[in-house]
Subunit: 335 residues, 2 copies
């Protein structure tokens, strides 16, 4: 049964009545509604989504735009995020589509094509940057969007984020509590807000404690962590603890540590962030931090739907606590 017309014909009703019965209007007699629902059930009627979309002016699609650096798209985070967001949207009859857009001059073109072609009702922006032209553009044209992560953008916008600032502040204090006096931070590129916040939390802890606290920035990959740790350990007085912006960087740092004959968890403490699966199986197991990624995905979906419904983004800002996960790389308290 592929159309409302056939269904109506079969039941001896008008298209209008069948449509309204299925949508649950109060407008149709209870007996009739039940007859319609039963018939729709047995014939397996499914409304044609293109027709519904055309008529209602909605696509019933939410789009997530993924940063598409060809080499390192593989943050394990994102796939779990996609799953949870997609599942929540599906509950509401929405589909999740995915496009890749490289940061750069052509980035906004992708957004424009998406919006002007009316291919989506809302956009989920991930990997936000401190200065983010995407938020500016979407806000200016009044298109519904939700961000995963924050930005320096001044106008109100909906977002979900982990409290990386507090998490790195606490982690740094945890290290000083263990007796560390020279702590290094391997930072991710500070153009990204998440990297900036984690660095700020670390810096605040250093100010609180009056310790020096050194920072080296590199890309948020194993290779980046390896390079940054290499530089840091080559100093005359290398740090006794490395607080890394991501687990990937921390795994890279571990290799640099090993190559210098040091033992992580004994000679030097290492902490990461993300709790990727490999982190629990590194040598030694990597102490890390985790934010509730599935819940984040669900909230992003719910916010996107609310924005489509016209809700005010002012009320949609959410900063979630990050859980610390101690493991062997944290080491023991030092003399």
């Amino acid at each position: 049964m592929s159309s409302l017309r056939e269904l109506a014909q079969m039941l001896g009703l008008s298209i209008t009545t069948v449509s309204r019965a299925l949508d649950g209007y109060g407008d149709v007699a209870v007996a009739t509604r039940e007859r319609v629902l039963a018939a729709a059930e047995t014939t397996g009627y499914r409304p044609n989504s293109a027709a519904r979309r055309l008529r209602r002016g909605l696509t019933e699609i939410v789009t997530m735009v993924l940063p598409a650096e060809p080499g390192h798209f593989n943050e394990p985070l994102y796939i779990e995020l996609l799953r949870s967001t997609g599942e929540r949207l599906a509950q509401q009859g929405y589909d999740l589509t995915l496009i890749a857009a490289l940061p750069g001059p052509d980035e906004l073109k992708t957004y424009r094509r998406l919006i002007e072609g009316r291919r989506t009702d809302a956009i989920i922006v991930v990997r936000t940057r401190r200065e983010d032209a995407r938020l500016r553009y979407l806000t200016d044209i009044g298109f519904p969007f939700v961000a995963m992560g924050r930005s320096d953008f001044a106008e109100p916008y909906a977002y979900v984020d982990g409290d990386g600032e507090a998490a790195f502040h606490d982690a740094a204090l945890r290290l000083t509590g263990l007796g560390h006096r020279r702590i290094g931070h391997l930072a991710a590129p500070s153009a990204f807000t998440f990297a900036h916040l984690r660095r700020s939390g670390f810096a605040r802890a250093m100010r609180d404690t009056g310790l020096p606290g050194e920072i080296i920035e590199d890309s948020a990959t194993e290779a980046g962590g390896y390079r940054a740790a290499g530089v840091m350990l080559a100093q005359a007085q290398p740090p006794s603890a490395l607080l890394c912006a991501t687990d990937s960087m921390a795994l890279g740092a571990m290799r640099a540590v090993r190559e210098r004959g040091l033992v992580a968890g004994r000679d030097i403490a290492i902490i990461g962030h993300d709790n990727i699966p490999a982190a629990a199986f590194s040598d030694p197991a990597l102490a890390t931090m985790e934010l509730p990624i599935a819940a984040t995905g669900r909230r992003l979906a719910e916010m996107a739907l609310a924005r489509i419904g016209g809700a005010d983004p002012r009320d949609m800002t959410e900063i979630n606590p990050v859980e610390f996960i101690p493991r062997a790389s944290l080491g023991e308290a030092r003399g």
Copy 2:
């Protein structure tokens, strides 16, 4: 400029002519076509996709259904696959949507909802199983689909896959060539075709060489590899080499090896498969195998489009070679 009607009015032409000019039909004067194209360009006209979809009966959407085990969805593979597939589809004006479906009794419901609601023109099935009800269902109803990975399914279907059988056969011979005489295979659940093929390749190499070759199966995760390796190493005569179905399993196995005071790459050789980023930074660096995932994604997209166009799946089967990546965990030749 949001509709063909407005554009036509502005140009003093009929909707028909404008539409045909934009679609490049031969039955419109060159001068007219150029006038139309110029106007469309300056006004930024974009056809309404819902209307076009309704009229043409196509959604211009391809859907990838991801296996949604909540815990371990995070194969780094998939995100790169999504990126490359999505990019290729976008070149053709197609969108890639994503849904998650758990294997199990309700799995086919997700497919049915998708197809009967006409929400997609083709489906990409990933993580194929030897007995895969999805291929049966899609073939029976004649819906266009493409599989990443093979299945025991008898009827012709389009797929792209890596040659895991040959890769594991070669890897096993490589180990015997290094002098190993007791080789263990940590297999992934053999219901999955990829796991079955890798196991078969290993088994064939053992037959070829007349060596015993032991196999233990567990889940394709770090934890699974850890467990399986633990069992294998607890034997009276443990193997001197472990060939693991995936890098995740290999990283888990490395931990089991360490806990027994053995050193991977010296006391025992370890090989994985996938070349995940963490593999290059484990201790020791993990020897592994890699298949061209971006190319695979592109081919999946192209095949999906061809199937939508009505092409015969018989001509669309592709098995790509897997590249071996030697690293320290492979060890030296033994006495």
